[in-house]
């Protein structure tokens, strides 16, 4: 069993290396002197200096984060609520709804983008943040729903029953029992939604206005001039900040867990 565990951990290490290898390359090349970021020329910090003054990049990064954050919240609400209701109750036409929910995943982005654009024009919704968020939620929430559904599958029904027997209303039972039980799936769904939203180009192009440009749009636009290392620099700054934030949260949580043990979690199963 120990050997098996070792093997699994080694495999995980390798996969993490695979995931981070390009990121490492990207970080290294953010220090590349060459404007055409293809061949290594020499070390420089110039691109970092430039990123701060590049209003286009900074503003689009802000837009991206904002859109991704709002999208995640809506996707989690729609996806979790939807998955629970579809699991708990027997609705007529449920299978049809299940199928429809996942259509945005298969539809090619350009079609989703164009059709949503037409829709927004028809209902006279002005292009901007709202339209971008709507379209992002549309292709993100199925991911949350699928993750939560998988977690719900085979859930012990006694769980909710027990809470209801103890006199909790279905809402309280959902909030206090089901949501905590689903949390790992909700978290992974949220991560997927956030990531997908942060990375989308085509749907965003069709549904954004000049003021709501996102970072990927900005980056794709720059390919024509050659991908210069300032794009790597801003990615590096962002990744660095994220890792730092995650580690800090981790540390804070550990401390929190020590002082106030296990009100919500933190206990080993």
């Amino acid at each position: 069993m120990k050997a098996a565990r070792r093997l699994l951990e080694a495999h995980t290490g390798l996969v993490l290396f695979f995931l981070y290898a390009p990121i490492l390359v990207l970080v290294v090349y953010s220090f590349n002197e060459a404007k055409l970021n293809v061949v290594w020329k020499g070390f420089t910090l110039e691109w970092y200096a430039r990123v701060w003054t590049d209003t286009g990049l900074v503003r689009s990064l802000q837009n991206s984060l904002m859109v991704a954050a709002i999208t995640t919240v809506f996707s989690v609400a729609l996806g979790t609520g939807g998955a629970w209701l579809l699991f708990r109750y027997r609705y007529p036409g449920e299978r049809l709804l299940q199928t429809l929910v996942f259509l945005p995943m298969i539809v090619p982005e350009v079609i989703l983008g164009v059709s949503l654009l037409i829709l927004f024009v028809v209902v006279r919704l002005e292009l901007g943040f709202t339209t971008v968020v709507i379209s992002h939620v549309t292709f993100c929430f199925p991911f949350v729903l699928a993750a939560v559904e998988a977690r719900l599958a085979g859930m012990d029904p006694a769980l909710e029953e027990a809470a209801l027997d103890l006199g909790a209303t279905p809402f309280v039972a959902f909030h206090k029992v089901i949501v905590p039980y689903l949390m790992p799936a909700i978290a992974s769904g949220a991560l997927m939604a956030f990531t997908l939203s942060l990375d989308d180009v085509i749907v965003t192009y069709f549904t954004a206005s000049a003021a709501s440009r996102t970072l990927p749009l900005e980056m794709f636009g720059r390919v024509k001039k050659g991908v210069d290392p300032s794009l790597n620099a801003i990615s590096t700054v962002f990744i660095g900040a994220t890792i730092l934030a995650v580690l800090t949260t981790q540390l804070l949580n550990r401390r929190g867990a020590l002082t106030a043990p296990a009100t919500q979690g933190g206990e080993k199963p």
């Binding site: 055409l36 293809v38 061949v39 209003t55 286009g56 984060l65 904002m66 954050a69 709002i70 995640t72 919240v73 989690v76 164009v114 654009l117 037409i118 927004f120 024009v121 002005e126 292009l127 901007g128 943040f129 709202t130 769980l159 206090k176 029992v177 949501v179 905590p180 039980y181 949390m183 790992p184 909700i186 978290a187 949220a190 956030f194 192009y205 069709f206 206005s209 000049a210 003021a211 709501s212 440009r213 749009l217 794709f220 636009g221 720059r222 390919v223 024509k224 001039k225 050659g226 949260t249 981790q250 949580n253 929190g256 867990a257 296990a262 919500q264 979690g265 933190g266 206990e267 199963p269």
Partner: protein, 357 residues
């Protein structure tokens, strides 16, 4: 009650933070007020340098909203949907022609464009918009052959020299059906103005010979494969060619094919329903100033139609043959090809699918 402890605090914290971020940012959406001193610019991505836009904003007090697109068709898709009203577009010549045919552009008021005199005479006589009634050339360029001289030793003068068995798997071309089909037509002695069903169909055997030799199709950044040494020869935009030549003049050479090269003219035009045509005219005229136009050349080594700006270029820039070809090569512009474009797309997809394997 093990279950109660499963919900992980960090995950909850993350969600809470996201909610806070979402609500916080939701509170102040950007207001798109329809002030008179605005210009809604819809142009190619990054094609108009930030310094130029800032210079114009400062001088005129007009705020420029720059929305970007990556191809003429992307621009048209958003334009025809009617989702937003734009003041100024940046279509290429064949798109200008289509827009004029569909009555989508408004005639320019030349009294507001004194700097139009800087534009080279050749550009005022082209068929897509003869006399420049609706459009002003912004930058132009060609499609030509780039050769890595270290790898390709024999002379290259035309399309047929590129598509040779010796270069199999070492070729990059634009990922553009219309381009490739018109190159094939050129080898059969037909220019882009002769695009019709019959002539397009006649290129099939040429494409069947060419496409299996190609390694990379890339319209966005064909220079990458050449720079990386993954291919040795290619047919690319002159801007890409110029960047390669600037990067390594001893290695790369840009050649205009002898059968006739395609020339594109990226232009500026005002849509019929533009809310701020005054501002659009002011911006066009600003871009036509030699010292402003020169800045654009600095960022994009295409052919500058602005004679005044060309005088301000450095010798190195002027001598880059990808930007300013020597002699008088045969240059032809694309025309709007209407429904034939569908046939070209179908033919190309078909031959490409059969060449792979």
């Amino acid at each position: 009650m093990r279950v109660f402890t499963i919900g992980s605090a960090p995950a909850r914290g993350m969600l809470a933070a996201l909610t806070a971020l979402a609500l916080g940012t939701w509170a102040h959406p950007t207001v798109a007020a329809d002030a008179p001193s605005e210009l809604n610019l819809f142009a190619w991505s990054e094609y108009i340098p930030t310094s130029v836009i800032e210079g114009f904003e400062k001088e005129s007090g007009i705020k420029v909203n720059y929305e970007e697109y990556a191809s003429n068709e992307e621009m048209l898709a958003k334009l025809v949907s009617g989702a937003s009203k734009y003041d100024l577009l940046q279509p290429s010549e064949y798109t200008v022609e289509a827009l004029i045919k569909e009555d989508r552009l408004q005639p320019l008021d030349k009294s507001k464009l004194p700097n139009l005199k800087n534009v080279e005479a050749w550009y005022t006589t082209q068929a897509h918009d003869s006399g420049l009634k609706y459009s002003v050339p912004y930058m132009s360029g060609t499609v030509g052959i780039v050769v890595n001289k270290e790898k390709v030793k024999e002379p290259v003068t035309g399309y047929d020299d590129v598509f040779k068995d010796a270069h199999k798997g070492r070729i990059v071309v634009l990922d553009d059906a219309v381009e490739i089909v018109t190159w094939a037509m050129a080898t059969q002695g037909k220019g882009p103005a002769q695009v019709n069903s019959e002539n397009v169909a006649a290129t099939r055997p040429v494409l069947e010979r060419w496409l299996p030799l190609v390694k990379v199709y890339d319209s966005d950044s064909p220079k990458t494969a050449l720079l990386n040494g993954d291919v040795d020869i290619g047919i690319v935009w002159s801007g890409e060619g110029a960047i390669l030549v600037n990067e390594a003049p001893e290695k790369f050479q840009y050649i205009l094919p002898k059968e006739g090269a395609h020339m594109f003219i990226d232009s500026l035009a005002i849509p019929k329903d533009a809310p701020h045509p005054e501002a659009a005219h002011a911006f066009i005229d600003y871009l036509l100033r030699p010292e402003v136009s020169r800045k654009i050349s600095e960022e994009f080594p295409y052919t500058n139609p602005n004679v005044g700006a060309r005088k301000l270029l450095s010798d190195k820039e002027r001598n880059n043959e990808a930007s300013y070809p020597k002699g008088s090569p045969r240059l032809e512009i694309f025309r709007d090809m209407g429904p034939t474009a569908v046939e070209i797309d179908e033919l190309f997809t078909d031959v490409k699918a059969k060449s792979a394997s």
